[in-house]
Amino acid sequence: MNFTKIGMACALTLGMTATAALAEYPERPINMIIPYGAGGATDISARAIAEALTAAAGTPMVMSNVTGAGGATGSVAVQNAKGDGYTMLFARVGSHTVNPAMKATLPYTLADFRFVTVYEINPVVCAVTPASGINSMDDLIAKAKEGGVSYSSSGVGSLLQLAAVMVLKEFGIEDPLNTTVHIPQKGGGEAATAVLNGTVTFICTNSSALAGFVANGQLKPLLVTTPERLGGFDAPTATELGKPSLEQLVGWTGIAGPASLTDEVAAKWGEWMATAVKDEKFLAVMEKAGSVIDLMSPDEAKAFIDGQYETFRKLVDELGMRIEG
């Protein structure tokens, strides 16, 4: 045998293993990164779909919480991963539309990820305590114009912050940053507590985070951003109040890989998700959390995310909310 032959044999073997590896995806467990902490909305959603996904893919899905910096730490871990489909991310509204729109120093952009799907939408609800004497959005806005209204969020660059600002702006507060006060908290639970104990006036967040408080009569919902009224929340929709553009304001969960993700992997994920979202246990958990299951194709997901990003970006630029440092 001469060199060329050996070389060819090697190349052939390598080529074969390479194609074999591709054809066999997934040949080992897939590491799914959840960029938020255990017990949060993203975590519950991710763990609910994990079992159905494992069944659909025929390989274990290992759930890893990588928390920190409003989802940025976990997102970066996937941004830097190989595009072989063995490291995927549960992307969330906070980490992938609000953060990129608000933070100039974020170490990633939307272009660093390839979305395979968005599968869950959570409407946003704005609420106050019954003790505040506020009964409608009009009351809240009237009070905000007088001054002294504040709202809580789970941190700078969270959906909660942007949602409150966007709602105030839509309802005619010209400069929400200076007429009202934003009091950020360490997390979603703390943000809800801040309304309950009177630290702030109102909160706008995902319906799932408030369902318990509303059912117990501890909080009073003023507005929901779904097209139709939401079960369990006795509040008008944004459209009923004449602000249909607020329907853009929703939370969502999707799955993304790094930008280098191959087409084969993306196609596989499409198949798996189509099966997984039909799982009854998953549907039951999501329904209890007040989420709407809406499986999007990669293109739909990209259009949806880009659309929301543009809306948020416009608002952020208009009000000068962008964080440069």
Binding site: V62, E324, G325
Partner: protein, 163 residues
């Protein structure tokens, strides 16, 4: 080292650290938006306060150290051969650095075996055979537990993957 000189060194160190923070580190690495309404709300405020307090603590230590009379007792060394002890310390630091480099590349399990064996050697273990056997077994058991019971994605590296 005498307690007095420790106190003095710590005090001087704290003052230098405080000065470095106030003059270099905080202006360079802490950013603050331009529209902060009040200085006490600025992200810079708390680091400033802390640096100031560190400086004051350092000065306090220098003063107490200088007020103490110098001890005349000869210094008792805790190790026979200081240069070899320092050598071992440098080795353990290098080992830690190497661990960080190797972990993502060859995987956590194989790196841990190396770390176990090297540490056992550095502490001059009295049970070399047990240590060597454990060096192989402990990382494997930990891997089995964390990966398969706790469901943690232990880094596997690019070469030999474990099931």
């Amino acid at each position: 080292m005498h307690d007095r000189s420790i106190q003095l060194q710590l005090g001087i160190g704290a003052v230098i650290a405080a000065a470095f923070l106030l003059l270099v580190a905080i202006p360079t690495w802490v950013s603050s938006p331009s529209n902060v309404p009040n200085i006490i709300l600025s992200p810079l405020f708390w680091p400033w306060v802390l640096s100031g307090l560190t400086g004051i603590t350092g000065l306090g230590m220098i003063v107490t150290a200088l007020r103490d009379p110098a001890s005349t007792e000869p210094e008792a060394s805790d190790v026979d051969d200081r240069s070899r002890a320092w050598g071992r310390l440098v080795s353990v630091a290098a080992l830690m650095g190497l661990t960080m480099v190797l972990m993502p590349r060859i995987g956590m399990v194989w790196t841990s075996m190396l770390v176990f064996a090297a540490t056992a050697f550095l502490v001059r273990t009295s049970h070399p055979k047990t240590a060597l056997v454990s060096a192989v077994l402990v990382p494997l058991v930990l891997y089995a537990f964390f990966a398969h019971v706790a469901g943690v994605a232990i880094p596997q590296g690019d070469f030999v993957r474990l099931p």
